[in-house]
Symmetry: C2
Subunit: 412 residues, 2 copies
Amino acid sequence: MQKKVSLSGFRDFLPKEARVRNYLKNKISQVFELFGFEPLETPALERAEVLLGKYGEEADKLLYLFEDRGRRKVGLRYDLTVPTARVLAFYANSQIKLPFKRYQIQDVFRAEKPQKGRYRQFLQCDVDIFGSKNVLSDAEILAVISRALEEVGLEKFVIRINSRKILLEALDKLGIEESQAQLAVLRVVDKLDKKGREGVEKELEEKGFSKNVLLEFEKLEPDEEIERIIELAENLGIEKVRISFDPFLVRGLDYYTGMIFEVVCQNFPSSIAGGGRYDNLVKALGGPDIPAVGGSLGFERIYEILKDKVSKQLEEGQGKVFVSVFSKELLQDSLQLVSKLRKEEIYCDFWLKDKYDLRQQLKQADEKGYRFVLILGPDEKKGGKVKIRDMRQRQEKLVDIQQVGKIIKEWE
Amino acid sequence: MQKKVSLSGFRDFLPKEARVRNYLKNKISQVFELFGFEPLETPALERAEVLLGKYGEEADKLLYLFEDRGRRKVGLRYDLTVPTARVLAFYANSQIKLPFKRYQIQDVFRAEKPQKGRYRQFLQCDVDIFGSKNVLSDAEILAVISRALEEVGLEKFVIRINSRKILLEALDKLGIEESQAQLAVLRVVDKLDKKGREGVEKELEEKGFSKNVLLEFEKLEPDEEIERIIELAENLGIEKVRISFDPFLVRGLDYYTGMIFEVVCQNFPSSIAGGGRYDNLVKALGGPDIPAVGGSLGFERIYEILKDKVSKQLEEGQGKVFVSVFSKELLQDSLQLVSKLRKEEIYCDFWLKDKYDLRQQLKQADEKGYRFVLILGPDEKKGGKVKIRDMRQRQEKLVDIQQVGKIIKEWE
């Protein structure tokens, strides 16, 4: 008999966990839809040529590539942007009209070294607008990310915002004008949270750049475009205190061309969402030449932060019912009661054994987290009643059998 | 630029399709939860040894197997029962209490020859009870499958039921007593729908069996157990007319040990759901020795049957709002209106361009299927009003801006 858990770096989600993940996924997609974003789904497998060379050399080593039975070179989905670029190359301006506001919530696969909080299969939640250069789209992305975080139950978060244009202009002024050099500097500054100021200044000098970069960045202020984006985002419902300009925010990835942002949450070390404008990426990935701006929620981090809270919330909120069976003679009545409650959309389970020991039934209901146990004995049946036992408050109430669904729905 | 659609046998789901699939998935999982089934999720990749030899020789050839970067032999999920058996081997009676009512809705991967209606990645929806031999569990599976089909909007379906015990007893009487011979006969009879009576009789004779098998099966009647299951299923809410005993129903797979069923839908050639009791399978698959009964919804078939209907229903039902922008001066007011409506949970999108031509805005709203367009011009603003244009009924109404959310929610 196999006594091994799943493959290293991969996870099974048992009911308690799967329920929380489903809850979060549903909440997030509801918000995305509320804001007029449309769902897209792409297959887990792509042609290897679609994936290779798109993420940089280091990332290519993390791709799950193999030959399928038809000797085609294929690979597992590594992110959601490359498959979307492929879809846009095929469908943009035919079945997909621009601007295209799409969201995509699917698993991606990366052969990273497994370690705490890092998995080889994990969920990505991307929300992007393709085909719009307008700053309204930048603001809309901030608004939808902010609302999604609020809806899942995160409150203490701040959106840090900056712009690649502002940063590159500052580097120009410092005499760092060559594009590859500029990106190299930004990648060093991106380590500020990890390495601290001194560490970054040391690395800058080692790489032959002026250590005055940070001093220069410190003086930066939002340009007209960023001010406009913040103003529009406020009009779209983000509270003013939630957004702050951060001159040291650079984002690690090379492809951003304008506004960039990250969301940080109190008491959590790393960012829980991020994104920005990337007007040249879709084309570089093999798609059509269309501008884009988007964001990504760090689902696995959000799940880690919220899982205990949401799990408790779901257990308490659900008011699930377990119908006990008093005796063989009363089985039929009990099942009809189950059927009646389910028709009234009440989550309802019942006793599956032929031994009708009530104590065992209460024990099982308790273990499985049922809030109410219904008891229908001969006396109850004679009087057209049923007993409701509240497992949390440890109290019982005898009610009319016709009313039981309504009473449970209104129970405090 | 790549101008190729996805890998052969794999599908992209554009918004219209993805929305229908999400709707069906959500409806189905809601019903499963309503009946007390709990969600389980397993990874897309498993160790090859977990998968190989579990599905028969033919199926082994359809597995997506490969070596990962750590030279581990791995494979993509081929079904949901084998991963569940692995999970049960690890967690049964510790984190998972028996009886375990679980559902699992995930993609599986099979390297079949792609053809119409057959894909290499497709969604499976399984619902099973592990650890209960009681006929109540068989009835519960019929009840949950039936309710799920009703909830997604299928009405004209019938559950055909039979029992492996009844069939094997009949074969015993015909002198076909050896287990492998019995299964061989059943696999031939399983072709009745495709080959017709004569074809099956011919194949039976060719394989050296009596062609009287069908004559013998014709006389079969439900035994006490099947009668009891039907009675219990009725108590659990299935209408009597929905269930019929079918002596020719055999199911193609070898592992069933008791009740078997299939659901057929009017005007659709193949079954849309099926299942049965399989008390020895979990152990054979490497799990613990626990009885099981379950069913599987043919999601891809159900999707094919319902996609146009559901898509239309979703478009009509949604009452989505598109807020037009009259002019630069009124942009701020329009965005605030968007924000207000979204806070009231109204699906709301807006115009992303700097050219405020109303005709273009109406055109885009129409193309994207928005039901309402809101118009906030200088006159409307002055009067604290907004104009609602109903794109379906081609009518307009001037309403108080504070009331607009409420009015749209109540709009017929």
